[in-house]
């Protein structure tokens, strides 16, 4: 993470937590996440619901007086949680992330209908019922095309990931 070392200069002012639209639901607010990170209690925050409640709105990032890229830090923690399988039991976000990437690796673009269908079938059986009204409206309006758009260079996406996999393995 570029300029990740900046968390060392966090002065614990709490502007991040105060700016966060979902901090009221978090086990630990972003300020506490940084404190825990520095205290070596990474496992606690990685397992918490906090990182999965970050909406990537970047409010904290643009307001941080120490220019810490807090949103990027949340992404870093998400990556650790996925890598070490430290996911909250009820969290649906990691599955969404995985399906999104599978989708893009396969077609080169995100096929929204396919992504939602897979997510509903595996993670949220109630969703088709709640979504039915809106789904029908969108479908009739032509906003839910069933066939995925595929790019010519779709293999390039997987090849680039494979190259970066190899680089990561080499570095370790």
């Amino acid at each position: 993470m570029p300029s990740g070392e900046k968390i060392k200069i966090c002065q614990q002012c709490g502007t991040c937590t105060g700016s966060c639209p979902t901090s009221y639901l978090m086990d630990y607010g972003p300020r506490e996440v940084i404190a825990a990170f520095r205290a070596g209690m990474i496992d606690k925050v990685v397992k918490s619901n906090t990182i999965w409640l970050c909406t990537s709105c970047y409010s904290c990032t643009v307001r941080c007086p120490a220019n810490i890229k807090i949103t990027d830090l949340m992404y870093e923690l998400k990556r650790l949680a996925i890598k070490y399988d430290l996911l909250p039991k009820d969290s649906k976000n990691p599955a969404m992330t995985k399906y999104f990437i599978d989708n893009v690796s396969k077609y080169g673009r995100n096929h929204e209908v396919g992504l939602m269908a897979k997510f509903m079938l595996t993670k949220d059986w109630g969703m088709p019922f709640r979504f039915a009204g809106l789904g029908l409206k969108l479908f009739t309006a032509g906003r839910l095309p069933l066939a995925p758009k595929q790019i010519r260079g779709k293999e390039e996406i997987a090849k680039m990931s494979a190259y970066l996999d190899a680089q990561e393995a080499k570095a370790q």
Binding site: P2, S3, S56, S59, T61, G133, R143, S161, L164
Partner: protein, 291 residues
């Protein structure tokens, strides 16, 4: 005036009307858009959650193609695509490691990228290249008396802030003033998060965020909310019935892509703007604009 154009994945499905209305508006303004050849997904927020460098690499594939395709700037309509692509440029400039890794990945597929292709948000292009005076001169149907709530959303100016302020953006306000609208310049929720992808994964959280935005718009007496991002538009518009049942409200506020409303002011036919695709009827907006 000519640009390379990156529509983004949503513009092929739920956000189709954004793409349709963008092309119409730009044609009315004499701006030529050449769609980026064989573009791929920008990576969105999901790629950042797996391996940061992958997200920069797949974004850079687009930028590398753009550089090959021509010298024109790359115009992007979706806030999230814009931020992801622009962030890739920024991080490639800030970090030699990112630069090398990205180019390593691109080389593996016979490409390369030097990190310098200008990535421009469509509003940046409209305000700074086309210019408000030129736009105003092409208005055939002024939006007089129409109360417009300009909703910027998160990734319009955050975190980059290259063409507008990160805390108090004004470009959309100025744009709709030029079209003659009664812009709600004090719209307090203009930068509040809609919840993004959380509408699918943590619906309770996202519905509450949308409720706050819709309430703010209603309190201000907005006739219409305008958005510059397919995810914001979908959450605020498509999910209004769900917000209503969750919070006992009766919102029925039209939400339009800002290009749809701009197209009306520029004299485009509603069909050329994808207005029939909206989940909340735009008929009251059409009726409220003086002919």
């Amino acid at each position: 005036m000519k640009y390379l154009y990156y529509p983004g994945c949503s513009a092929e499905s739920t956000g189709k009307a954004y793409d349709i209305s963008t092309r119409t508006v730009m044609e009315k303004l004499g701006v030529e858009l050449a769609e980026l050849d064989d573009w791929n997904c920008c990576g969105a927020t999901s790629y950042f959650s797996t391996r940061e460098i992958d997200s920069f690499a797949i974004a850079a594939r687009n930028l590398s193609i753009a550089q090959q395709q021509g010298d024109d700037d790359l115009c992007v309509i979706c806030n999230a695509c814009y931020t992801t692509l622009a962030k890739t440029n920024r991080y490639m400039a800030e970090s030699a490691h990112v630069y090398e890794q990205v180019n390593g990945a691109l080389n593996a597929v016979g490409r390369s990228y030097d990190g310098t292709k200008p990535v421009r948000h469509i509003m940046d292009v409209l305000i700074n290249d086309v210019g408000l005076e030129a736009i105003e001169s092409k208005v055939t149907r002024r939006l007089t008396g129409l109360k417009v709530a300009p909703y910027y959303g998160c990734q319009y100016s955050r975190p980059i802030g290259s063409f507008d302020d990160t805390e108090d953006p004004q470009t959309m306000d100025r744009f709709f003033e030029a079209l003659g609208a009664d812009v709600l310049t004090d719209f307090p929720a203009k930068l509040k998060c809609c919840g993004g992808m959380m509408m699918l994964t943590n619906a309770d959280v996202a519905l509450r965020l949308c409720h706050e935005i819709l309430k703010s718009a209603k309190d201000m007496g907005a006739d219409v909310i305008v958005a510059a991002c397919p995810l914001c538009e979908m959450n605020m518009e498509g999910y209004q019935p769900r917000v209503n049942s969750a919070f006992g409200t009766d919102y029925n506020i039209p939400v339009m892509y800002f290009t749809q409303l701009a197209g009306l002011a520029l004299g485009a036919d509603p069909k050329q703007l994808g207005l029939g695709m909206q989940a909340v009827s735009c008929a009251p907006v059409l009726a409220a604009i003086p002919a």
